[in-house]
Symmetry: C2
Subunit: 490 residues, 2 copies
Amino acid sequence: MKRETIEKPNQLPEKRELGKWFNRILDMADIVDYSYPLKGCGVWKGYGWSIRNNAIAIIRELLAETEHVEMYFPFLVPENIFNKEAEFIRGFEDEVYWVTHGGLNELNEKLVIRPTSETPMYCMFAKWIRTHADLPLKVWQVVSVFRYETKTTRPMMRVREVTTFKEAHTAHLTYEEAAKQVEEGIDVYSKFFDALCLPYCVSKRPKFDTFPGADYTYSFDIIFPEGKTLQIGTVHNLGETFSRAFNITCKDTKGEDHYVSQTCYGISERAIASLIQIHGDDHGMVLPPGVAPVQVVIVPIFYKDSMEEVEGFARTVYASLSSHFRVFLDNSNERPARKFYNWELKGVPLRIEIGAREVRKSAVTLVRRDTFDRVEASVDNLKEEIENQLENLEETLRKKAWRHQNANTHSVASFFSMEQEDAVDVLLDDHGEYNGGIVKVPVCGDNVCLEMLSKYVDVLGVPYEKEKEVKGTCICGSPAKQVITVAKMY
Amino acid sequence: MKRETIEKPNQLPEKRELGKWFNRILDMADIVDYSYPLKGCGVWKGYGWSIRNNAIAIIRELLAETEHVEMYFPFLVPENIFNKEAEFIRGFEDEVYWVTHGGLNELNEKLVIRPTSETPMYCMFAKWIRTHADLPLKVWQVVSVFRYETKTTRPMMRVREVTTFKEAHTAHLTYEEAAKQVEEGIDVYSKFFDALCLPYCVSKRPKFDTFPGADYTYSFDIIFPEGKTLQIGTVHNLGETFSRAFNITCKDTKGEDHYVSQTCYGISERAIASLIQIHGDDHGMVLPPGVAPVQVVIVPIFYKDSMEEVEGFARTVYASLSSHFRVFLDNSNERPARKFYNWELKGVPLRIEIGAREVRKSAVTLVRRDTFDRVEASVDNLKEEIENQLENLEETLRKKAWRHQNANTHSVASFFSMEQEDAVDVLLDDHGEYNGGIVKVPVCGDNVCLEMLSKYVDVLGVPYEKEKEVKGTCICGSPAKQVITVAKMY
């Protein structure tokens, strides 16, 4: 059923107008305010910051389980430290901010605001690592980093102050161990995105799109509702590039000096931008329970003659749940319909309605945010019922998101073809407009062919999960030896 | 009993050499590494960062209880926003870092790295506040701020990157409400320092030492073991200074426009520096349970014939405690004495020793970090026993710290006196060396007299807790009307 809508300035646009919808949600649901007078910098408001902190708590637990140590490295980097690795500098020289003055004085040495923390971290790794007993070293931090974006900035997706850059950095005795660590990084991020109910496609980026200084880069890409993909995480094997530049060596068991092998991997607030845009609907956000600041909202429905009973009962229900869930009892003077509207906008997974009828039956009505299904639950096993409902909702969100991702991931026999459906047919509609999705394209594997393809589409790379069978023809006419994923990226 | 010590490079100096002791502890206990190649910037290592995060969790709870909303405001401030309030600029122009270049380009407008967040916050307050219904607005954040310190930097106490600046900012309809909010701020910080077992003296700073732009400033000062005081928190009533500069107005119930009245208050990692230095002893840190990354460490004591039993029993004990406390089972191959040394250094409040004897008796031996008292506890009520011990240890730390603060807070009849003990007698020893402590000095209250005193000592200000009775003579010869606290500050 199509809802009739009258466009009002304060109203949420329909979800299919994704960009407008997202910008309005950020404002209406107190997520981030981008009216700050500096391009690409926003103010995280209370509700948004709480979602963000809940997401960090999830990754913190995953990183603790895998013995990563949380630390904090300085924000400013002296020029001579930043400039130690040539390829890295080339990758970042156009997009770093320089601090040149302290007070009224010009500084003796310019300072870089970290665009990512390889350089401030690795100058310390060189001091800390002496022998193989100091390895593996696995550290992480969540910090603000800055990129002087010259492209158009986009709320939470392309910003100048990346406020929630979660970066992990590791050092190992051998290259093989670093390669193994890349797999652990991919596994940790997979679990993190699973917890956020976000699907992903992991690809090994082509050489020309590898992180500056890295041997190879894996990337997590998600397909947005309108079809474009967004990179939401990267995992890099740095090999010995930085250990040679920073002279990070360690003695092996025979007392011989080696350069360590390194990895690093990062995610950012793009994960939050994604979960809002992937799961939301025309009513607003739908938050996975793990990150929802309020998991259950209790809305008492007052009639004059039952006011006291209902309020008392609502308080009892609140008290019985508040040590198990993040619960909010909305006792404000708004009308219930208004409260429903507000909490639906804010994506609260479960609503509990309590009126006179519920009090009489010693029960509550549970309403799910994703399906709006209503179910009556006795107070006797309410905790278990809520646990089930939240679990089910989470599973439903995850499956739905994966269905969209899978439905928009296609395989073709070749990139261009006169006979069969090709990548262009899939990516573009009849009017030449972008259709969206990811297409798996057979290629010979030669870098020249990848560069050729990258003139037409964004090349994501070779899928992390091996294809069972490779068929078809490369753009160069040779028989395909592998498959790569291509798309249109944000 | 004096311990005989041989100075070894890696050994902890005695606590009475406070500066040396503190620097060694920071390194040996993995707190902060100041060998980063930029003056006044350090790397928080795992154990230190965990202490810091536990402390933040305490203040987060106190601020949530008092309805402060956690947000995040941008790190960079455009020059024209920073320059809106003249007195504020004068206070900070010597100590801010300027960003002048993005990539290879000079920026159109210079950007300040926030030294504190009045300006980035208040330009947003002006957008957010419309009517009295939007008030009070109470927000906070914990962030890095930068000060271009030209004085000698000191680990965690005077740094260039203040990594843990917890700042709260509020806006109110009336000046009276702002004044009330100052009291709430003082109350919240008192509870925070209580949780850290830290004593404090709250004083209203003299006019010449008030925060730039504030009407008045209250400060929390703590007396360090060697007698100097350190400012560990401040609470400011900003009145309408900033609301006029940033045009933050609101309509009252009659629809009339008013400038809002504002407050702000801050604490920093100085709280961590203090708790390490106040509670520590010759063996290392002694951490209050609330901030200890490990509250209970289990050390199994193996003998060949009982190894399996002991290990099994230790695991059972660990499993029974791990959901109630932050417990660590030290199963490493180090000798027990070495483990004791390490965990004493790291200030773990309680140690559990388990050997063959304990297994036989189905009991454990508990050793307190502060007193080294040993007590046997049955496994049957171990949780309760540990709760009691931790509570008692916390209370003991708090009392001991307050005893030192009170013993070093003196009252005199006048600042200089030929007849009686005066402030100079108390503050200096017979050799003219600084003795330490805080002295309460009777004054007439005139600013000229305070400025005169500030040439000899640091004037902390008028105590927040009213003196019962004021006697004595001011430096100018007039009878005293109030008391002020003076000291020598870090």
